[in-house]
């Protein structure tokens, strides 16, 4: 396959080789970045979609005093259309970690009655699944980091009831929450900690991160009119959205960002491809006479093509690996969401496919006529 020639050529023209590599690395890094932006935006949208049921409602309340909010949520939980009220932590941090089949509820003593469970009497009361005892609970919580000692091991719990579904305790801390999620539990009932239950935190979180699940057959319009009536009567400033409206809003908010990312990705991809095609054609033109000499002395055109394809593939693999490393560092430093292997795979495959297409194009450039012409040009 003319490997010796390829080796000798690239050793002799080290500078050219480095130039080609540099161009490829920059191009692939840009493409990685474009694809990464697109995938990140898509994932965010998909995650928002996945954590919500379609009969969910979101209510965003502007800064109101605590007592007003408390009575508002009391009003909501008493509405016949409402199945449950839940909240979750910071949306952008929380969503990527959440497994699609996990339902997480932060439950106050009052709301526990909704699940036909006895309300908690203290922060040490828990519900656990029936196959767990305290020892298992400790084991289960081993991967939980910093606050496991406070929240699990060194606290005596009063087991109120064994639950048949697969339930894990969460007692308040963010780290232990993440640990619980990584354990792939599909249902979590979390007693709100005292300071959250009685203090402002819980209510604050509810005001901007609440999910209210409606009964399956209930009407959103009916629920909406009741809520709006209450809001206007009590002079509370809030907005009620269905999850579809919410997703539309997220789409709108992110659309500019997604548009810029995708456009930039496409532009950079096109530029990189043009650069890449230019590199290949220039590389062939520069050594047409060399290739003609190989052809005359026993190599076939298909073998020459295979050799060039092999050379480009090697360059692509090296450049892709380096650019993946650079992209990983960049994305990790800038937005703390390192580039995924999927992104890397997509951008590298893109180049590989283009490489194959170009090989078919250079078939014409490497025709017998061109090779013979290149010999004559030497005279």
């Amino acid at each position: 396959m003319n490997l010796k020639y390829l080796y000798k050529y690239n050793i002799q023209y080290k500078g050219r080789w480095f130039f080609v590599m540099l161009q490829l690395i920059i191009s692939i890094t840009f493409i990685n970045w474009g694809v990464h932006s697109y995938i990140s935006s898509y994932k965010l949208y998909k995650n928002v979609l996945s954590i919500s049921q379609h009969n969910d409602v979101r209510i965003f309340v502007n800064n109101e005093n605590e007592s007003k909010l408390r009575s508002f949520y009391d009003f909501i939980q008493d509405l016949p259309e409402v199945t449950s009220i839940a909240t979750y932590l910071n949306r952008t941090n929380y969503i990527p970690e959440l497994k699609t089949d996990t339902e997480l509820f932060f439950v106050s003593n009052e709301l526990l009655s909704k699940y036909h469970l006895e309300p908690f009497q203290s922060s040490t009361d828990i519900y656990i699944s029936e196959n767990l005892n305290n020892t298992n609970l400790q084991k289960l919580n081993l991967p939980i980091a910093d606050d496991k000692k406070q929240t699990v091991i060194h606290r005596e719990f009063n087991i109120k009831k064994n639950l048949s579904s697969n339930i894990i305790l969460w007692n308040g801390g963010t780290t232990s929450l993440q640990g619980a999620i990584y354990d792939k539990q599909n249902f979590i009932i979390a007693p709100i900690q005292n300071e959250q239950l009685n203090g402002k935190k819980y209510i604050e979180r509810m005001s901007y991160n609440s999910i209210i699940t409606l009964q399956k057959n209930s009407s959103f319009e009916q629920f909406n009119s009741k809520v709006n009536e209450y809001l206007s009567l009590n002079n509370i400033s809030a907005k009620v959205y269905t999850i579809e409206q919410m997703i539309d809003q997220i789409k709108k908010q992110n659309s500019t960002l997604i548009f810029i990312s995708i456009s930039l990705g496409i532009i950079l991809t096109c530029l990189s491809m043009i650069g890449f095609i230019g590199i290949i054609f220039m590389s062939i033109k520069k050594r047409l006479t060399d290739l003609a000499i190989l052809y005359i002395h026993g190599s076939s055109i298909s073998k020459l093509l295979l050799s060039l394809f092999f050379e480009f593939t090697c360059q692509l693999i090296i450049a892709s690996s380096i650019s993946y490393f650079i992209s990983y560092l960049l994305t990790h430093l800038i937005n703390d969401t390192p580039i995924s292997l999927l992104t890397f795979g997509i951008s590298s495959s893109l180049f590989f496919i283009i490489g194959i297409i170009i090989t078919f194009f250079i078939r014409n450039k490497l025709s017998r006529t061109e090779l013979i012409r290149s010999i004559k040009e030497v005279y």
Partner: protein
């Protein structure tokens, strides 16, 4: 016995104008013959040589090498034929600049799956025969024109081909080096190789067994 039969070969580069660069060429070459192809510039000498050496192909007509029609062979078989049957010497040497003298001479053997030891022995013998022993590790850019042409001859003969095709082999050389190259070709011919030389030089042409004179793509006289 005919080594090579050129049967009614025609070739045109501009098919619309239908101007034939070669028009119905017929001749035969027997083993051990030394032939000169002469003619004015643009008469089709180099094209004919390329077609004989299976570098290019005719539009019409056939070439028979050892009574095998080249048209009937696959591209892979033709590449093998170029490698094993023909040796090529060009006016401007056409050496690979990134290869040493040794590696340039080795080139035809690279495509053969023969024993590496035998290959090395053949290359060293060729280098000695051409008086390149002290230069075998040098690159073409470090050699004079005469030395480069000797390397090209070495590359042409190392695979022991039956036919050596030389396109203006002395065209870029001074008289002394030109004579030396001619002597090598004559020596190879005396050892049994058929030689076809494209030349403008009447002195070289007169050293050959036959002269084929091409004018406007046709054989004027043999």
């Amino acid at each position: 016995m005919e080594k090579l039969i050129i049967d009614s070969i025609s070739k045109s580069f501009n098919k619309r104008e239908k101007r034939n660069i070669l028009d119905g060429i017929n001749f035969k070459i027997t083993k051990g013959e030394m032939i000169a192809i002469t003619g004015p510039s643009g008469s089709g000498k180099s094209t004919l040589l390329n077609i004989i050496g299976c570098i290019d192909f005719p539009d019409e007509g056939s070439i028979y090498v050892d009574n095998i029609d080249v048209k009937s062979l696959s591209m892979k078989e033709i590449a093998l034929l170029r490698n094993q049957t023909f040796g090529y010497v060009f006016q401007n040497f056409l050496l690979l600049p990134q290869y040493t003298v040794y590696e340039n001479i080795e080139l035809p053997l690279y495509y053969r799956k023969t024993n590496k030891k035998t290959q090395k022995k053949d290359i060293m013998e060729t280098i000695q025969y051409l008086g390149l022993s002290e230069l075998y590790n040098k690159y073409p850019s470090e050699l004079s024109g005469g030395q480069q042409q000797r390397v090209a001859i070495g590359r042409a003969l190392v695979g022991k081909p039956d036919i050596i095709l030389a396109d203006e082999p002395t065209g870029s050389l001074d008289q002394e080096n030109g004579k030396m190259v001619l002597n090598y070709l004559k020596d190879l011919n005396s050892k049994g190789s058929s030689i076809i030389i494209v030349t403008h030089d009447h002195f070289i042409a007169n050293q050959c067994n036959r002269i084929i004179n091409l004018v406007d793509g046709k054989i004027k006289d043999i």
